[in-house]
Symmetry: C2
Subunit: 296 residues, 2 copies
């Protein structure tokens, strides 16, 4: 029986150490580095980087092939949180139990810290010196996948759809579309990046994409449920904020009980997609099952 | 005698056509695409993409080798203007004779349009399918150069230094440092990217870097002078804003006349760096000389 918690802790430490090393080697304006460090090291779950490393291992790669991509993905995720929290967007004051970046520093610094993190991700993704054509081509594919997922037809589109739909009633399909873009696309690119860098076959990558889409949605529905009935002290952020803001969520649209059923269906789909993988994909299986029971 | 104006017009048209094609093929949320299109097609000079193409040609490459990098550089430049204009930063209402993005749309849309453009640049830079190892390695080098120049130790650092130094007295060295970062780094990466993609030798690239640093500073000093004595109708933006805001500028530090002398020195350095180049670098020579006489 695979034991997930020590696996997650080990991988979190690996990612945190790598991110800390990057920041420690960064030469720039003190306030900017401080803000970047503050948000990046604020105690995130490191879901995206861990999925990236786990996908690399699932296709028989080793974690060191994907660690820089894993760090880049966490940087992009952190930039998106910093910008989403700004007064002009969600106007959130608390994140992971700490003041959001613009509260701790100021709006200008938060905008620039986000910009810096997004750009830094691509600096990291292009910092490897590939030795073969295949290696170089793989990195370019990863950069293309990640930028497409994070960009105008991915995460940023999801965010503008989210912001502009507040106070209007969405259908389930429209809500799913927002989440596939806003959180799903980057989660998917984390998994495909890991698989590409581990030299996975195209059939493996296709199956992992199905896994990714399903856990991405399951993760988001759980997030919505935690915003209704989670414990703010455990979550590290306020709850009930979605309802106050008139946000479209799964619980608001379907109720808690049907939302939970939907999560179960998605997780089953995700597990099925791994049917032809061996026990090196056990971490991915365990992560899928963990999503529904998580408390933060 | 090389005739610069038709050269600039031809290259501007090339860049505009390519950017328009990219936007026309973009599938995303209508408001986001509209904001991106608004700022990207607001009539910029296209200095960075033109320098990229001209550098490619100066090392005997052809423009099509560098056109996608040229477009990516203009996207990064445009994102930086959108974010710099935000109320939390420079709070500018007019840019190129038109409303700034956050005035035309709103702050949230402007933040996201900037984020989208920055990310799109890396999508474009990674969209080529390299056929050889050298080609693939060159693209990775270009992505690394551009992200380094735009990022936490480049343009973003320049911007936070600029924002945090308002109202304090800088030395000439400190001011030059800000401009080397804020505008110089991206201009330099435009030129080196073009030269790398045109398969320039490392000696050529070194000389072009000297050219780039010098015209970057000359360009910035001219900008400062135009903010004092330019014609707002020709410039398409308000003048006198630097002084009102207590900004550190070359005219404020040295006076107009010494600032002009400084420009001449920088341009001479830039031209000298091209001494061993043949007439394929005439556009770069002409651009250096044009900087001092430009009215917008």
């Amino acid at each position: 029986m695979f034991d997930l918690i020590p696996y997650l802790e080990k991988k979190q430490k690996l990612v945190n150490d790598s991110l800390r090393q990057i920041i420690n080697h960064t030469i720039s304006h003190e306030r900017l580095v401080s803000a970047v460090n503050y948000s990046l090291m604020a105690g995130g779950k490191r879901l995206r980087p861990i999925l990236c490393l786990a996908a690399c291992e699932a296709v028989s790669g080793t974690y060191d092939q994907a660690i820089s991509a894993a760090c880049a993905l966490e940087m992009i995720h952190t930039y998106s949180l910093i910008h989403d929290d700004l007064p002009a967007m969600d106007d959130d004051k608390l994140r992971r139990g700490k003041q959001t970046c613009h509260i701790k520093y100021d709006d200008a610094t938060a905008i620039l810290a986000g910009d810096a993190l997004l750009t830094y991700a691509f600096q990291i993704l292009s910092s490897n010196k590939p030795k073969t054509y295949e290696q170089a081509a793989n990195w370019i594919t990863v950069i293309n996948n990640v930028s497409t997922a994070a960009g105008i037809g991915g995460m940023v589109e999801g965010q503008i759809r989210d912001v502009t739909s507040e106070g209007t009633q969405l259908t389930l399909d429209q809500l799913e579309k927002i989440h596939l873009l806003k959180t799903g696309a980057l989660i998917k690119s984390a998994i495909t990046s890991g698989a590409i860098l581990g030299y996975g076959t195209s059939i493996m990558i296709e199956q992992l994409e199905i896994y990714a889409e399903n856990i991405g949605l399951a993760f988001q529905i759980t997030d919505d449920i935690l915003n209704v009935e989670g414990d703010p002290r455990v979550l590290g952020k306020e709850t009930g904020t979605d309802q106050n803001r008139g946000k479209n969520t799964y619980p608001a649209l379907l109720g808690i009980s049907k939302s939970r059923e939907l999560i179960k269906g998605k997780i089953n789909n995700a597990l099925q997609a791994l049917d032809n993988f061996d026990n090196k994909s056990d971490p991915l299986r365990a992560i899928a099952q963990y999503i529904i029971v998580r408390k933060k």
